[in-house]
């Protein structure tokens, strides 16, 4: 592979049965990039991440990965079984499943897990059960699990889905710090204003790619309407794009329905 690209997709398509979820997608991830993938539900965001991770072999196109590149994956925390009997340290150690058959951790593993937990500011919580943590701390645990395998690219699936505003800020700041340390990050998100507008690079996806560039270049009424199928306006707030629904009558319609009209 030439240039700085760690991962490169060319003309990637993928089907689930008869449903086309990715169509002729070109996608590069360069060292140190922070990319947000936005699009409606069912637009292929998660499939794109899984193709990048090598977990899904696409039905068409090519996937190139620079030799030795490692990718870490952070799933949606909404899919986690919070009642499962595991501590924070045990979850992080799961990343080291292959390569050692003994159930107990080696000294090196203990050191590595402690180091990554310290780096994410949850070093004192290793012995805690995962349910005993706050939303931001829970998200950090799963980021720590991905980081302990020392990835070059970190892929996060909807890292702020179902979390409150405070946790969203925590996650965004953490990702900013990891990006500043040189880690390449690809994340999918539904949150156009809370997350996407803050990212340096955005990819707008709805089966095929509708736009790639800065938030200002991608979050335009034309691209958003094409991808989401609904008219949207883009305003400016504090120097950043702010996406709003163009359907001004929406509130009125809801109020009429409430009144039983």
């Amino acid at each position: 592979m030439s240039g700085q690209a760690l991962l490169r997709l060319r003309g990637v398509s993928h089907n689930f049965g008869e449903a086309l979820v990715l169509d002729n997608v070109d996608f590069d991830v360069a060292a140190g990039e922070l990319i947000g993938v936005v699009g409606p539900s069912g637009s292929g965001k998660t499939t794109l991440l899984r193709v990048l991770l090598g977990a899904v072999v696409p039905t068409g196109g090519t996937v190139e990965r620079r030799r030795g590149v490692r990718a870490g994956y952070v799933p949606q925390v909404e899919t986690v079984n919070w009642h499962f009997p595991v501590t924070v340290a045990e979850v992080v150690r799961m990343a080291r499943t292959e390569g050692r058959w003994q159930p107990w951790p080696s000294r090196q593993e203990r050191r590595d897990v402690a180091a990554v937990l310290d780096r994410l500011g949850i070093g004192a919580l290793g012995h805690r059960h995962i349910r005993e943590l706050s939303g931001g701390q829970q998200q950090r645990v799963f980021i720590a699990r991905a980081l302990v395998s020392e990835p070059d690219v970190l892929c996060l699936d909807e890292p702020t889905s179902g979390v409150d505003v405070h946790t969203r800020h925590e996650v965004l700041h953490l990702l900013g710090e990891l990006h500043a340390d040189g880690l390449a990050i690809v994340l999918s998100t539904h949150d156009l204003n809370g997350i996407a507008a803050h990212l340096p690079t955005l990819v707008c996806l709805n089966v095929s790619i509708a736009g790639r560039g800065s938030a200002r270049e991608v979050l335009t009424p034309a691209i958003l309407e094409r991808v989401y199928g609904a008219p949207m306006d883009v305003l400016e707030h504090a120097g950043m794009p702010l996406v709003v629904d163009r359907e001004r009558n929406l509130a009125q319609i809801v109020n009429l329905r409430r009144a039983g009209a």
Binding site: W82, P85, H129, E132, S134, H166
Partner: protein, 294 residues
């Protein structure tokens, strides 16, 4: 003392005592994976599937262990495969595959009278027929299972907790699932003679549920559940002898008694842990204040 020593003078009861204790520990160990995967119905289903295999073996005069074991394994793998098609849930997959196998066994009962005789013991459990071979079988299966759980502990834990990320991280989750089904099939086969098809599911689930209420650690839950299972098997077998009740029933009732005690002692704390064995959302939290369960 007489109460404890009296049953030991009978060879078949000594065998039954060993089989019940080891089978209890074995089912307790594997039951941890069964309940944490939200497949508590699996033991029930697999034992019924194996019943179908046993009926076929009796009908065509094939070795019971080989035939029923292979049948159980095929059913387990079938369940895994059907469950992986996400449109069908694990519970529905178990319902479809194992009840079909059970129905096949029932149909054979109608055609072959010799099947009926050997199958009745399989359904309800019978300590009278426990031989030295059964003792060897259950010990071998338990030792192999414990060794596999130790060696593949990390992969089993990761696949049980987070199969999607385990797969992405390079764990062959399909192989791990198949391994678990293989262990479960042989555990059920080795335990079925004393527990019976109808009660073996409880021997898998009850010790694990009690252990879950006692700990928040996966490793501790494994040995706690095995120990509870062994105690239930041992005490249940003694009660079976003294009360003249089927061994499967007394083992399960001892397990239920222990569960009731643990339930009462751990109270709300224990309840909360088990109530969420299925995936659900995290606790509603104030991000500034960690939530403490204990």
């Amino acid at each position: 003392m007489h109460v404890l020593l009296e049953p030991l003078q009978f060879g078949f009861l000594r065998h039954a005592l060993v089989v019940c204790t080891v089978a209890g520990a074995l089912c307790g160990l594997l039951g941890v994976f069964v309940i944490l995967r939200g497949m508590s119905y699996l033991g029930h289903g697999l034992s019924h599937a194996i019943f179908g295999g046993a009926a076929i073996c009796a009908a065509i005069n094939v070795n019971y262990l080989v035939g029923a074991g292979l049948w159980g394994l095929a059913s387990g793998l079938g369940i895994s495969r059907v469950t992986r098609r996400r449109i069908i849930g694990g519970d529905a997959a178990i319902g479809v595959i194992t009840t079909a196998s059970f129905a096949f066994g029932i149909a054979l009962l109608g055609f072959y009278s010799r099947v009926r005789r050997s199958i009745e013991a399989t359904v309800f459990g019978n300590v009278l027929g426990v031989s030295r071979g059964d003792v060897v079988l259950v010990i071998v299966v338990a030792v192999v299972t414990a060794a596999v759980v130790i060696v593949r502990y990390r992969a089993l834990l990761f696949t049980t907790f987070d199969p999607e990320v385990a797969e992405v991280s390079g764990v062959n989750t399909e192989r791990v699932d198949a391994l678990l089904m293989l262990l479960l099939s042989f555990a059920i086969l080795a335990s079925m003679k004393v527990m019976g098809v109808t009660l073996i599911a409880a021997a898998l689930v009850v010790p694990a549920v009690s252990a879950r209420m006692l700990t928040n650690s996966f490793a501790r839950m494994l040995w706690l559940s095995s120990s509870i299972g062994a105690v239930c098997g041992f005490v249940g077998m003694y009660l079976s002898y003294h009360l003249d009740v089927s061994s499967g029933a007394t083992i399960v009732l001892v397990g239920f008694g222990l569960f009731a005690v643990v339930f009462a002692v751990t109270g709300r704390r224990g309840l909360r842990r088990v109530a969420g064995s299925q995936h659900d959302k995290p606790a509603v939290v104030n991000p500034l204040e960690p939530v403490h369960v204990d």
